[in-house]
Symmetry: C3
Subunit: 244 residues, 3 copies
Amino acid sequence: MTSVLISLSSFGAAETGRHGQLWCAQLARAAGADSVEVRGELLRDAATELPPMAGLASVYSSPEGLWAEGGWLDSAALKRGIAAATTLGAQRLKMSIGAFGPGSHGSLWGLKVQLAETRVELVIENDQTVAAGSLPAMLAFFDAADRAGLDLGMTFDMGNWHWLGECPLRAAEALARRVRYVHCKGVQRLPAKWVAVPLADSVAPWRAVLRALPGDVPRAIEYPLVGDDLMAVTRDQVALLRSL
Amino acid sequence: MTSVLISLSSFGAAETGRHGQLWCAQLARAAGADSVEVRGELLRDAATELPPMAGLASVYSSPEGLWAEGGWLDSAALKRGIAAATTLGAQRLKMSIGAFGPGSHGSLWGLKVQLAETRVELVIENDQTVAAGSLPAMLAFFDAADRAGLDLGMTFDMGNWHWLGECPLRAAEALARRVRYVHCKGVQRLPAKWVAVPLADSVAPWRAVLRALPGDVPRAIEYPLVGDDLMAVTRDQVALLRSL
Amino acid sequence: MTSVLISLSSFGAAETGRHGQLWCAQLARAAGADSVEVRGELLRDAATELPPMAGLASVYSSPEGLWAEGGWLDSAALKRGIAAATTLGAQRLKMSIGAFGPGSHGSLWGLKVQLAETRVELVIENDQTVAAGSLPAMLAFFDAADRAGLDLGMTFDMGNWHWLGECPLRAAEALARRVRYVHCKGVQRLPAKWVAVPLADSVAPWRAVLRALPGDVPRAIEYPLVGDDLMAVTRDQVALLRSL
């Protein structure tokens, strides 16, 4: 059965700041989620916050790009991500490719070496930037990774494509065989910006997108979970995702 | 030439309640519609309301699902639908599959027997529920019907797919060969819900969807017809649909 | 490299009326555009306004349809368009097909003769009317032009498809081989109408649409350029288009 996760960013910066990600992770588990994704950008002090969450999370999300400005591999960022995932006992580290470009191909060998030294699995996410989220950028990256003999999987974020003017259904079809983890996110358009919403409120053809992706990979909620009864809201959304 | 119908629900519950469906049917015909679809859920007293509409309607829409909770065939509901269509002299009965599921396959033989006893043609509509409106549900149902030797056609509702996060264009392509009747419905998204609007106001690629469907099947207006001069509004919308 | 143009209608009727298209063309060039498209409908006096713009524009946009009501070729309108383009020294004349219909096929030979007498290249644009902007209309026209031995290219307007309920991505795929010029236009839907917006604010999958089109043809901005610092706004939008 597909496992259902919650990206802890779904609880919002205010809530995670007030209660900490451990509290949110426990709420997520109590609401029926199989596991959670811990967010690096919402940690105030990784050294004290990560160890107590050991065993609760299966994914650590790093806010750092894997390639830095200029196109060089940010080995230190990768190392920090692997260390955090290891502390959590999380199998997976999620990162975006950052400023990966044509000049970065050589560094894929360095990445390969570094990944061979850990049991943490790196999964690459499409974010909301042209360089690390548009379809040509993702295809070019995975193609280069293939040629370097790197077997990398993808975190497919269903919603981010809209921020870039990409068609999520076409993207799903083009990338399906890479996908090992899905970020579920509905979208609506305000006059000035896209916003993330629950799947059921999305203007996107989200069922068709989900069907175009592998059905047996973990799926995470990554849209705002808010409400007077946060536990009930979370339980409902987990149940919805599980029912798909 | 494609015939143009009006689903009488287009006039709204208030208007049909005030004037009755007979009055609405007469207005529809006067406005140029070839026929109408009578709505079961808007009848207050079928026994007195249906007979006077005999000859005016070519479709009767039943509000009941063909399979009830638990997945058993609701033969009584089907019987009621056939009876209403017969009273109207309507060739077609429109129903959704309700709670049809994997356990319902055996009952398709009973449906076949029951349909063999009437000249009324059953057409299955995609509604706004996952069980009776999502693409996998429709494909699974028609596949099972095929295997049971049932030659069932579909009422393709252009708008309902949006309520479910399905892509209407992909759905049209997947189901085109089943389609014998089209419910024309534009859609717009409000923050909290989808709403039905005239085709010309739709955010959907409605011309592309219509083109993906058979061009020689009846098409019905199923979006709000409102305005100070209801006859003029109706005449315009009928003319638009006829011009496509 | 793809050249970047600005359709001068992007500055709005008020601004072009106040300052004239020459002023706008100069601003466009100063902001980094390679060239501009002069708009016939925004000229008050072509005889005095066009000559000073000679050398600044590579496209002249005629507001007249190439075929008039009734389906006859409007040779005079074509002549006026060619004359304006010639005065400007513009290589291209952009027109829509107007009321071209099945009865117009014979007149394609007349068009062929008329085009043989000029070095100005006619490019046909999809507009916001059913007759001259829907996908079947465009395909039927180009098919007829082919059969008449006319090698006509297309101005693909990315946004206009939405006004007609067409899918821009499907249209791009169907017409890509015809396209010699692209009008870049984002869209948003207000309750009562579609509006043109910058690409980055579009609800459409504009990157996917652009990718489906030839990458080596000129692209023009055709969405509102407004702001306190019009030069800065224009420079930014030109730079964005150039970066694609």
